[in-house]
């Protein structure tokens, strides 16, 4: 007779094995490794919650300590490879295969381990792409997640950093998987239920709160005049003419400069209410002055940011908050919002080639993609019109039929022509290609494909790629804003001049900006302390950003 319940029976057996260590659902932290050995089977697909920010660090340590004779060859399917222990799992043979999205702080070591054959790589994904695969062919057998608190029934309160948790739990709990949560404390009643208890099988109380990285705090004191100039160019040359109200900002210093220029320079240009009012964005501290000045109507967040909790709680007109008053974030929904409901993505990158392809991969570092490719791509499934989207579509295809012409998402790369240590932003060939060849990858890790990029902003000006009609024009438009890099000095001066006359390249003076006006006095806040003042004392920056 055919059985159709094997998955459920297997899950019940795992839970039964784990239940021997539990009181109800609660397992003592000292038994966490034994719990792993009871529940996890060799070859399992495991999602060890490593998000962009919060980390299930206790469960990670517990998994690392298992006897590899009992638990081995795991296939890790997690969005963030962030902690050193995430990679130690592969060194110990507990894990074997990896599918992931982002590896920021571990980017150098992960590259080394891939070259050394320590990790069998599935693929490097974007967040949405990996989440999608959780429901099709990468469904976890076991999810190890992190929350702020739990009650004895397993109801979880994730706090402001909800991030990936609902998505991971949905895929695991409803497809015969086991969900284990580490929590900072067990309480009688959680402040709000972010994850219902019937989706959670075991709860471990950690002796210290889960680790959260303040990834989105940019100190205004470190913003340079060139970054201010690029910000002024973007505001006057792109935000204003397209009337971009719905957008996502990257996390670099150029976009932090823009956030701090809105209440000063943007105000002077009369743009309040006309641009930058609706965001898919983490709660960037640099956005506080714009919020306080009445620029921002609404922000949906991927995650939270360390120190922003009380400020967010007091500004629920702007942020999404729960019945308890604190932020509710959700990475999958916010990524979807960035993909479908925003008219612009603007962010920085490490390398741009002469076709406009960009990558944050260099030969010795594989940082992964995170969310930028979702935000920084044209959503082919989009159907609702908006003025910026339609205008970009018109520029790309002026002869097309009005009623049949697709609009275009504005995808803007912004940066100075030279980065840290005088490394050029523009290259003839991406390092990602060399890496793909060395690792025998079928696809080079490109962050944003050139055909999705609409504008490139540097201190030298704005290249509008929508107005370029062929590959040669695109190349010269890119060279024409590439400054004194080899790519920039390799320009065809005559073609660049022609492109400038057509508006496909615009210099600061072409839009009435004097580079000498790009001064730090234009920033609404010039230090972290200024941001605290703007917030009325509600923003509590982490100690590493305090110098007073």
């Amino acid at each position: 007779m055919t059985t159709w319940q094997r998955g459920r029976e297997a899950r019940d057996a795992r839970i039964q094995a784990g239940a021997r260590l539990a009181k109800g659902k609660v397992v003592d932290a000292r038994d966490a490794t034994r719990l792993m050995e009871a529940v996890v089977r060799p070859g399992d697909r495991v999602c060890l919650e490593g998000d962009n920010q919060k980390q299930a660090d206790l469960l990670c340590a517990a998994l690392l300590a298992v006897d590899p004779a009992k638990v081995r060859d795991l296939h890790m399917v997690q969005s963030g490879v962030v902690l050193p222990e995430h990679l130690d799992l592969f060194d110990r043979g507990v894990a074997k295969k990896l599918d992931y999205a982002y590896s920021g702080p571990q980017s150098a070591r992960i590259a080394k381990m891939l070259f050394g054959g320590k990790i069998e790589l599935g693929a490097v994904h974007t967040y949405l792409e990996l989440f999608a695969r959780y429901f099709i062919d990468l469904t976890p057998n076991v999810a190890l997640i992190a929350a702020v608190s739990a009650d004895r029934d397993g109801n979880l309160y994730t706090g402001p950093n909800t991030e990936d948790t609902p998505t991971v739990v949905e895929a695991t709990a409803f497809k015969n998987g086991v969900v284990i949560a580490q929590v900072n404390e067990i309480v009688d009643k959680v402040p709000r239920v972010d994850i219902p208890g019937d989706r959670v099988h075991f709860v471990v109380e950690a002796d210290k709160p889960f680790f959260v990285e303040p990834l989105f705090t940019r100190d205004p004191a470190a913003i340079t005049e060139s970054q201010i100039l690029t910000g002024m160019l973007a505001i006057k040359g792109i935000y204003a003419p397209y009337g971009v109200r719905r957008l996502n900002h990257g996390i670099g210093f150029n976009t932090a400069a823009i956030e701090l220029l809105l209440p000063t320079y943007g105000e002077k240009l009369g743009l309040r209410g006309k641009v930058a009012s609706h965001f898919a964005l983490n709660p960037h501290p640099a956005l506080i002055p714009a919020i306080e000045s009445g620029w921002v109507e609404q922000i949906h967040c991927f995650g939270s940011e360390v120190g922003m909790d009380e400020y967010i709680r007091a500004r629920s007109d702007v942020f999404f908050t729960g019945s308890d008053g604190s932020l509710r974030s959700n990475r999958a929904f916010c990524q979807t919002a960035g993909l479908y409901a925003c008219d612009m993505f603007i962010g920085s990158t490490l390398q741009i080639d002469i076709q406009g392809n960009s990558s944050t991969v260099t030969t010795s570092r594989i940082a992964g993609f995170g969310g930028a490719p979702n935000m920084g791509s044209d959503a082919r499934g989009r159907r609702h019109p908006s003025e910026p989207w339609l205008q970009a579509g018109r520029e790309a295809d002026p002869e097309g039929s009005t009623l049949l012409r697709r609009g275009r998402k504005l995808v803007v790369q912004i940066g100075e022509t030279f980065g840290e240590k005088n490394v050029p932003l523009f290259v003839e060939r991406l390092d990602a290609l060399e890496l793909a060849e060395r690792l025998n990858l079928e696809l080079a890790p490109v962050m944003i494909y050139g055909d999705d990029v609409t504008h490139i902003v540097t201190e030298e000006g704005i290249a509008n790629l929508l107005l370029c009609r062929d590959a040669r024009e695109r190349e010269q438009a890119i060279r024409g804003v590439a400054g004194y890099t080899d790519v920039g000095r390799g320009r065809d001066a005559k073609m660049v001049q022609d492109l400038r006359e057509r508006g496909a390249i615009r210099r600061p003076e072409d839009i009435g900006i004097n580079p000498l006006d790009a001064d730090r006095s234009m920033l609404a806040a010039r230090s972290i302390k200024d941001l605290v003042h703007w917030s009325g004392g509600l923003y509590a920056p982490p100690s590493r950003f305090r110098n007073w």
Partner: protein, 105 residues
């Protein structure tokens, strides 16, 4: 350390009467520019002392564009460079040229 000198003929003399100006700081990724009105009106000299060797070609291009854009005739610029990026160099030179356009008090 590397020393570089670039001498250019200029279209016209730098406006203003100011004799001397200093801008910027010697720090990593930054530079200090001293501008002095000490040359004939049709000449401009840029003397560079830089911590980052091997960027002569880029300096050449940056200085040539600066002289073309501002025609700072009569000015000598002495640069003490801490490995600044070209965009910062262009900005500091432009700032120095603007200061020299002021009238001497």
């Amino acid at each position: 350390m590397e020393d570089l000198n670039f001498r250019h003929a200029t279209r016209q003399r730098a406006a203003g009467t100011r004799k001397l100006a200093v801008i910027g700081v010697v720090a990593s990724g930054n530079l200090e520019v001293l501008a002095e009105r000490v040359l004939p009106d049709s000449e401009c000299l840029v003397e560079i002392r830089t911590a980052a060797a091997g960027f002569g070609e880029v300096w050449d291009a940056v200085i040539a564009d600066f002289v073309k854009g501002y025609s700072p005739g009569g000015l000598r610029f002495s640069i003490n460079d801490g490995g600044a990026r070209p965009d910062t160099v262009s900005l500091r030179l432009a700032q120095a040229a603007r200061l020299m356009e002021e009238d001497d008090q």
